[in-house]
């Protein structure tokens, strides 16, 4: 990868963050939070994307972003209200911007027709195109040579206070200075001090110099930040600040000031002007004149935080320079610390990350490095277990040093494993946040009104799980809107609000993540569902099904309630695909529905795909792992409990008759089933609350196992979901409970034995 490619990758990663920021902000604005900071946040996001896109010659993206930004600027400057007319256009524009970024990443231009449409819409909001011609009118050839220079960049107000650069905008320095120049009774000495990079490089510090100046008398220091570039262009070792000092006081002589700057004057632009060459006794010039940037103000805000060496009221201090790495003196770190504190107080204001909320330092790491780490930790856990086993076999006394060291090692490896796993943990937010857009699109395609609510988006799950949530969620949310919610008129007729509510929530529950998609629609139409299943030959016409069983029918392969194939559904993906993709993640999907009140689809997923809590069992000479999450309990079948139903064996357990499956036979390790009375049965919960007893020879214990793919070097094996390395260093297979339990239900014999069990 060339350096440019790498930068490109980083740019697109950052775009993702900015797009998220944009969507968050717009969502907040939609919810009525139209305060300046939210609007600024949105503006900055679009602005940053535009800036970066320009650097990569993504002209069409820049063009669109520019128009978008222009509208946002109007909102920002309160010339345009973010109302019901404006917001939908903005949201659509944000969606489109995401498309354009994605297109840019893939080397394309994106949907230019859509760009034009939206540009027209955006321009309409601000009373037509700015500058006389619409950006949408530009011919494609016309913008071939378009560069950033064609756009007038809007200066963007940053929250400097939050950045530690003082309060307000310091642009007015020159004028203020000029204005006071004319006054007869100006300050005794005017100092114009513009440090160059070298000043900081030589470990001089503007703040220290200014503090010494301030010690000479009453000083008013203005900081000129007009040269500070945008955050993305900032050179952390650059020098951007200039200071204008007005100094009054008995000791304030030009000579003394020159003395202070003696070692610095080669590395800065310095101008020291004494009024009339004399030092008259002036009335104090307040530190708060002219409303410019007063460092005294800043200092006042920071007071209590700074242990000022000379806590005289006239002691002013310039704030820290933007050169954290070069701060030599402890004094200079104090303002910085204090500003950090200040940020918290202003937290509502300083919303944007990277600017104000510095505490969580984040690094980007390529996923394969983390995966490698996880693999190695898995190895370590295996080796540790092996070692522990050997020590145990050696029969050393429990109190011995070796044994306690092994125990310590065990604790450390587990902690290490947990920590490494935590590296991959990611809030489900990243996938949840893609959903509002989907909701908007689906709602507009189906003509429904949807209020989309999310809960628990900060719930953390392993990255692999998060990544694979997107497809099932997309499908289920589409379903909830398309099939679940009624049309607004129907809803009103039923006495419900016209706007339907779809709720997406995530929560941790007993070591798993529970994700629920619920709607307040009409619920599953059971007679219709059953009829479709009969028509499609999925169940016999005379099948007697409970309500719950009827609801489960929608997850059968080949089932679809959509009578017509709409743009939303009918993509060839049914709930059966959703269900199997969730099962592939080691999860389960259940449905609950109340007619007239709505439905809820609940996914229960493991927190990680890398480790699994398993019960170690023996079948013939093989060691197998049964996922603990599926196990209800284990028992020894008693005489009289085991009965035959046709060819199949069942076992009576806790007033239920459940199928009894010999794992050894199911996996082909033996031909003839073993005697259940000499074996152990493991009662497992399959999907749909179906229960099955798995017969194994022996139970060896339970432990956490690192999941290894079988497919990578071989191929999927029916009845086996994955492999792991056992304590002895051998490969042990992880049982795919659903597949083994599901063997009986081939040939559409879906509810056969279960009905017997249920009745």
């Amino acid at each position: 990868m060339s350096a440019l490619d790498e930068i490109r990758v980083v740019f697109f990663q950052e775009c993702d963050d900015q797009l998220q920021e944009l969507e968050d902000g717009l969502t907040a604005m939609e919810g009525g939070e139209t305060d300046d900071d939210t609007v600024n946040r949105v503006f900055r996001a679009v602005h940053s994307i535009k800036g970066g896109a320009g650097a990569f010659d993504l002209h069409k993206l820049v063009k669109f972003a520019h128009t978008f930004e222009t509208v946002l600027d109007e909102v920002r400057s309160h010339r345009l209200a973010a109302d019901g007319t404006v917001m939908p256009v903005m949201l659509r524009s944000a969606d489109h911007l995401r498309d354009l970024v994605a297109a840019g990443r893939d080397g394309g231009d994106g949907d230019q027709e859509r760009s034009k449409e939206l540009i027209v819409e955006l321009e309409a909001l601000i009373g037509g195109p700015k500058g006389g011609h619409s950006a949408a009118d530009d011919d494609d050839e016309g913008d071939g040579g378009l560069s950033l220079a064609d756009f007038e960049f809007t200066p963007i107000a940053m929250d400097w206070g939050a950045m530690g650069l003082g309060t307000g905008l310091g642009g007015g320095l020159g004028e203020d200075a000029a204005a006071s120049e004319g006054e007869e009774d100006g300050p005794a000495i005017r100092i114009s001090f513009r440090p160059r990079k070298d000043l900081y490089a030589k470990a001089n510090e503007a703040a220290v110099l200014l503090r010494e100046v301030a010690a000479l008398g009453k000083a008013t220091v203005r900081c000129d930040i007009s040269d500070v570039p945008l955050l993305d262009a900032i050179d952390p070792e650059g020098a951007y600040l200039a200071f204008e000092v007005e100094l009054d006081g008995e000791n304030a002589t030009e000579a003394k000031v020159r003395e202070i700057f003696e070692f610095a004057e080669w590395d800065c632009d310095l101008e020291i002007k004494a009024r009339g060459g004399s030092v008259p006794d002036f009335g104090a010039i307040g530190g708060d004149d002219a409303g410019g940037l007063s460092v005294a103000d800043l200092l006042a805000r920071l007071q209590g935080e700074i242990a000022t060496e000379a806590p005289s009221e006239s002691t002013d201090s310039a704030e820290g320079s933007p050169l954290p790495s070069l701060k030599p003196a402890p004094e200079t770190s104090e303002p910085a610390k204090a500003e950090g504190k200040d940020d918290k107080d202003d937290k509502g204001k300083a919303g944007s990350k990277g600017e104000a909320e510095a505490p969580a330092v984040v690094i980007r790491v390529e996923l394969h490095r983390v995966d490698k780490l996880i693999d190695l930790v898995g190895e370590l856990v295996t080796t540790q277990t092996m070692l522990a086993q050997k020590v145990e076999e050696a029969g050393l006394p429990t109190g011995s040093e070796v044994v306690s060291s092994i125990e310590e090692l065990d604790r450390l490896t587990r902690t290490l494993q947990d920590s490494v796993m935590a590296v991959r943990a990611q809030p489900v937010k990243s996938v949840f946040q893609r959903m509002p857009r989907l909701v908007r699109e689906t709602a507009s395609a189906t003509g429904k009104k949807v209020n989309f609510v999310t809960h628990g988006e900060n719930t953390e799950v392993d990255k692999t799980v998060v990544e694979r949530l997107s497809d099932p969620l997309t499908h289920m949310i589409r379903n909830a809107i398309d099939h679940g919610l009624e049309k607004p008129d129907d809803r009103v007729a039923k006495g419900k609000p016209a706007e339907g509510t779809v709720t997406l929530s995530a929560a941790h529950r007993s070591g798993r993540i529970i994700i629920e998609i619920s709607d307040d629609g009409g619920g599953i139409n059971r007679p219709k569902v059953k009829q479709i299943a009969i028509d499609k030959g999925l169940i016999p016409a005379d099948a007697v099904l409970s309500d719950e069983e009827t609801d489960q029918l929608v997850m059968l392969p080949g089932f679809s309630t959509a009578t017509t194939v709409s743009a939303i559904s009918g993509r060839g993906v049914g709930m059966d695909v959703v269900k199997s993709s969730i099962e592939a993640l080691g999860g389960r999907l259940s449905i609950s529905s109340r007619p007239g009140l709505g439905s809820a689809f609940t996914m229960s997923l493991p927190l990680t795909l890398a480790v699994l809590e398993g019960m170690i069992v023996r079948v013939e000479e093989e060691t197998l792992v049964i996922p603990l999450s599926t196990i209800v309990f284990t028992f020894r079948p008693q005489p009289g409990d085991v009965q035959y139903v046709g060819q199949g064996r069942t076992v009576h357990v806790r007033d239920q008759i459940v199928p009894l499956i010999d794992v050894g036979v199911a996996l082909g390790y033996r031909k003839d089933p073993v005697d259940p009375l000499t074996s152990v049965a493991v009662l497992v919960d399959c999907d749909n609350n179906r229960r099955v007893a798995l017969l194994v020879d022996d139970i060896r214990g339970q432990r956490q196992v690192v999941i290894k793919s079988l497919e990578k070097n071989y191929r999927p094996v029916h009845g086996i979901s994955a492999a792991t390395i056992s304590g002895e260093g051998r490969v042990a297979l992880i049982v795919d409970v659903e597949a083994i339990a599901g063997d009986r239900t081939l040939d559409n014999f879906i509810f056969g034995i279960d009905n017997v069990a249920a009745e």
Binding site: Y669, K708, N713, Y714, R715, A723, G729, V731, L733
Partner: protein
């Protein structure tokens, strides 16, 4: 492997030669990741008879092909004297169970002849060419054909 000798006949392709029963085979050295002693494998359910099972290779689950079975040769139960040649073919890594590694050879292309047309021989599908050398006959196998097709279940 102590008797492994390097015999060079001109410039050529480097091959790892090994024995399965009385026959000699070879595989391109570039495909060989390592050679290791035999370890008991974990049986895979529903696997073809030539798949011995899976072993743990430093944390990777590695299927092992019993080469004799794959080539339709008389089957011998694997013993600790057997050797597993770890090969990589396409994106998969797996082991080949053989009796012993015999040589590392550098074989010039002109010594390689097309596989003889042996009707009714299941080995035909896996042998790309044969090399006649001194009084030996070495068949070059194609490791990428060794594993069963990666069929998707369901």
């Amino acid at each position: 492997m102590s008797n492994t000798a390097r015999k060079s006949i001109g410039y050529g392709v480097e091959m790892v030669a090994f024995r399965v029963g009385p026959q000699e085979f070879c595989v391109d050295i570039k495909a060989v990741r390592e050679i290791r002693g035999w370890t008991p494998a974990t049986t895979l359910p529903h696997a073809p008879h030539y798949i011995l099972g899976v072993i743990n290779l430093r944390g990777t689950v590695l299927p092992v092909v019993n080469l004799a079975a794959r080539l339709g040769l008389p089957l011998e139960d694997p013993t600790p004297r057997h050797v597993i040649i770890v090969v990589q073919a396409e994106d998969q890594t797996f082991g080949l169970l053989v009796d012993a590694v015999s040589d590392i050879l550098s074989i010039s292309p002109e010594l390689m002849q097309g596989a003889p047309d042996l009707a009714q021989d299941s080995a035909k599908a896996f042998v790309s060419s044969v090399i006649a050398m001194e009084e030996r006959m070495i068949a070059r196998i194609m490791p990428e054909r060794m594993l069963p097709e990666r069929l998707r279940l369901n």
